[in-house]
Amino acid sequence: MSRELRPNLVALQTIVQREIRRYTRIWPQTLLPPAITMVLYFVIFGSLIGARIGEMDGFSYMDYIVPGLIMMSVITNSYSNVVSSFFSTKFQRSIEELLVSPVSPHVIVVGFALGGITRGLAVAVIVTLLSMFFTDLQVHHLGVTVLVISLTASIFALGGFINAVFARNFDDISIIPTFVLTPLTYLGGVFYSIHLLSPFWQTLSLANPVLHMVNAFRYGILGVSDIRIGVAISFMLVAVALLYLVSVRLLISGRGMRQ
């Protein structure tokens, strides 16, 4: 193992462990709320209203929305974990502990992103287990399911990192989730198929990246999708690469961290 690799692997392990320790220590704020929210979605939209809606794309409404709701919780949690963790590290100036150390910027970005990804996936597991009380899900394509959920968590974890770098106060870390992520998620086919929309809105919906993620994941679980899976996965791979490069670049420049 090279002279630089081993210490950087130890540093990576340290950052990831610290991140996991952080969100598990405050589990009533991080892991419990999405579980409660999703149970409410299952009860109200799935059981109560869903029974009157009938089938969608050949599945009961409950079965149809479960993949979307899992993705919604992954998106929200992977993003919010990194944005709040990295911003508080900046806010408390404990980011200086990392900046004065010889940790590679790549390790810092990957470490924080993995923190967000693990939280996103942990919430996904919780929500999936809860969904078992309401429906009997069969996974259509395990590889696609795991790949898509991992890529989605990565995209939003890195997005959260970039948001945290630019944020100057706590208001700045809630603007993007409130005004960008929530509308994109709700309009991203979580609760409906875009085939229900007029051609104009169908075309417009295709510009929504969340739609591709939700549908790719739905394909993995149910085997149905409004979009082409290959395109969606390619788009996600490119997005991860771009967001990663931007994150590393921002960290090296020291924006908001170095004078």
Partner: protein
């Protein structure tokens, strides 16, 4: 003896146009205990910020134990431990975890990190507080925690930016002896402080920075030699209504029991006591009016102020 720190023509201009450093040259030898002094806003923290890579320099070179800041920042960082002025650790983490985590950033395996954390927390009197959330620690404990954190990767050069600010006398003295011991073990130390008594007590060499320039870089001994006049306060046994006539010793009464006397180095105090004794004035005690280094520091900075508009 090799050079621990070498700075050449270091400049820093902030985004608002303020030129904090105007071409600093500074060398610190390995094993030295070096004081970097200067008034507020002189450029001390900017210099330390550049060394620790928290401030981007505008120009010049920085070299720590042969590691160039531009070419080998990782190597430089491994040699360097920094205790900043402000508390900059996670306030919600426990003292022990802060040290082990910091060690992890330097690639130190957890087992070794835990052993070192135990050793430094013990040495700095914080072992009992190892499981206490750092925000619950007193100011002095937080300062010691930052020193322990800076030492966890066993740096060769330790930079302390006002480490005893706001620390009580007793604790300050125990920190002095701890730092002296570290220096004796071979760690090069650079100290900035506003307590000039501290610098005089601990440091062998001194650099004075003002308006972004080094105005003095010499040994403490050489610097103190420049002090020609010392001011003493004499506590008198009997009350005096007027200042006694003391020949070549300028004097004044501070109050009825305290006499202030200026003594040139060449004069000594023997003659002074003879004159006082001849007038039947008994002296209970004698003390410096100000710290010797403080007098020099003020005069150097004032002189620099006259030439720097």
């Amino acid at each position: 003896m090799s050079t621990a720190l070498s700075i050449r023509q270091l400049t820093k201009t902030y985004g608002n146009g303020f030129q904090a450093l105007k071409g600093i040259d500074l060398d610190v030898a390995e094993g030295d205990f070096f004081a970097l002094l200067g008034p507020n806003g002189a450029g001390k923290s900017t210099t330390i910020g550049i060394l620790s890579t928290l401030v981007n320099k505008s120009g010049g070179t920085v070299n720590v134990f042969g590691h160039d800041l531009d070419r080998d920042p990782s190597g430089l960082k491994r040699c360097l431990g920094v205790v900043p002025q402000e508390f900059n650790f996670n306030q919600f983490e426990k003292a022990f975890d802060i040290l082990v985590t910091q060690a992890g950033y330097y690639g130190i395996p957890a087992k070794i990190a835990k052993e070192r954390a135990e050793r430094y927390l013990n040495q700095l009197g914080l072992w009992d507080k190892r499981d206490v959330s750092s925000r619950m620690l007193s100011g002095g404990m937080k300062r010691r925690l930052m020193i322990a954190r800076a030492l966890i990767h066993q740096p060769r050069l330790l930079i302390l930016d006002e480490p005893t600010a706001g620390v009580d006398i007793e604790l300050r003295r125990s920190m002095w002896s701890f730092l002296t011991e570290l220096n004796r073990e071979g760690i090069t130390i650079i100290l900035t402080t506003h307590y000039l008594e501290e610098a005089e007590q601990l440091c062998r060499n001194i650099g004075i920075i003002d308006h972004g320039q080094i105005v003095k870089n010499t040994s403490m001994r050489e610097l103190l030699k420049q002090l020609h006049v010392e001011t003493f306060l004499l506590d008198l046994k009997e009350s005096q209504l007027v200042a006694p006539e003391l020949g070549n010793y300028p004097s004044r009464l501070v109050d009825h029991h305290t006499l202030e006397v200026q003594v040139e180095k060449s004069q000594g105090v023997t003659e002074l006591f003879r004159l006082l004794s001849a007038q039947g004035i008994e002296v209970l005690s004698l003390r410096n009016k100000t710290n010797r280094l403080e007098e020099l520091f003020v005069s150097l900075v004032e002189n620099n102020l006259k030439v720097t508009p």
